[in-house]
Assembly symmetry: D2
Homo-oligomer: 137 residues x 4
Amino acid sequence: MTLKEFLNNGDIFAKRNGIQITEIKPGMAKAQMTVTEEHMNAGRICQGGALFTLADLVFAALVNQRENMAFAINSTIYYHVAGKLGSTLTAEGHFTSTHPKVPAAQVVVTDQDGTHIATFTAQGYTKSMPNSFSGLE
Amino acid sequence: MTLKEFLNNGDIFAKRNGIQITEIKPGMAKAQMTVTEEHMNAGRICQGGALFTLADLVFAALVNQRENMAFAINSTIYYHVAGKLGSTLTAEGHFTSTHPKVPAAQVVVTDQDGTHIATFTAQGYTKSMPNSFSGLE
Amino acid sequence: MTLKEFLNNGDIFAKRNGIQITEIKPGMAKAQMTVTEEHMNAGRICQGGALFTLADLVFAALVNQRENMAFAINSTIYYHVAGKLGSTLTAEGHFTSTHPKVPAAQVVVTDQDGTHIATFTAQGYTKSMPNSFSGLE
Amino acid sequence: MTLKEFLNNGDIFAKRNGIQITEIKPGMAKAQMTVTEEHMNAGRICQGGALFTLADLVFAALVNQRENMAFAINSTIYYHVAGKLGSTLTAEGHFTSTHPKVPAAQVVVTDQDGTHIATFTAQGYTKSMPNSFSGLE
């Protein structure tokens, strides 16, 4: 099983909320979500938790490219522009630190017009448990 | 319509992910979520985005207690202990700043045993648009 | 040498900026700074970096109470009220997570009137290098 | 007086800690600090508060390029590699959001070899008070 398959099938919360990894390359990952009625908050814009989950899945695809399993220990999200109903949002992430135990990454969320929707930064913790994927994609 | 009704019915993303406001008092709000199969990430623990959404709904219940509509402009979450399948998680929030334009709050997520699962801090931005709820709960 | 002596003498940056640990108890630490001309920013309020350093020293006093040496890997600060010239600021910190490798803590900065000036949250990373203090204070 | 002069002379805390703005262009600012004995923490690396102040001054140079005065309301810093004694650190910042009231920016700190030392993100609040600089530099 590839890392992409593992995340797209195994992350049930992301999957049922319409979020899928679209690309994983060494040091880079992307995910996509189309904002539907199901992502609306009470103010009729995309719920922050939906944007957060989109970025978080990208983070998982970055920090698990390495030898051992890793997970987020903290994340910060800055909202710049509201995610609108019908938009297709792309999150693209890159490492800001490849520290062996506590890697860090940044994920930028944009819409189909390239508008910068949100910036997400996170730090992970790497366990001693090896990953065993057959590849990235 | 009360603020609680507005959020519990209007926040479709929170609602369809099993998250509901349970209490709103002046300066305090609580929400609850039972961790089910639908909240699992690929590592078989509660997805960070689900914890985030739980805390974010509480934040909305705090910053919208005031005269004008407000929304989060940034949030930080620290994960302390994994949210386990079957747990009932409660998020409780309080203001750390009641600044008229950029209020801040902290939300603590615990499980049914009182274990501290996550700490969420956020800052909001208050628009010039008045809220018109019939009450908090 | 106690942990308090180690930090108050060894943290040269904090020391030369008028910041000193005043109390360390198990799971709690406090530091103090009187806001002088030397802490002013161009807007004539206490520079954010001075508030940050005050809180950061408290964080060091918390995470180094344990068996092994630890240091901050990230921190978030929320500013609530400006720190005024002549104020005496106290930062008080407590653990939010006692995870053996990646502990977390929160530090609240208040002035002499109890006004909440800033909220600081941070996460540390614990090395395999043992601490060898003769005590906390 | 230019914005650069205003910050380099007026930010007394930054100045007395060896931090100076070196460049301000529309949408970009840089500051520099050489890590000396005066910036050491008790672990003999550059104090986090010194890195933070370096980045924070850049943030001030970004958000005050605009019509009205602005200041940081929150900041997050991720530490990637320790700042070493004798290093010359450069912080370079760019906007991530040019929102009129609550702009956001990111500042990256690197050393003279291009090593990525820290990532700083912050959000500002813009007052109704006009800035009146004669130019950026």
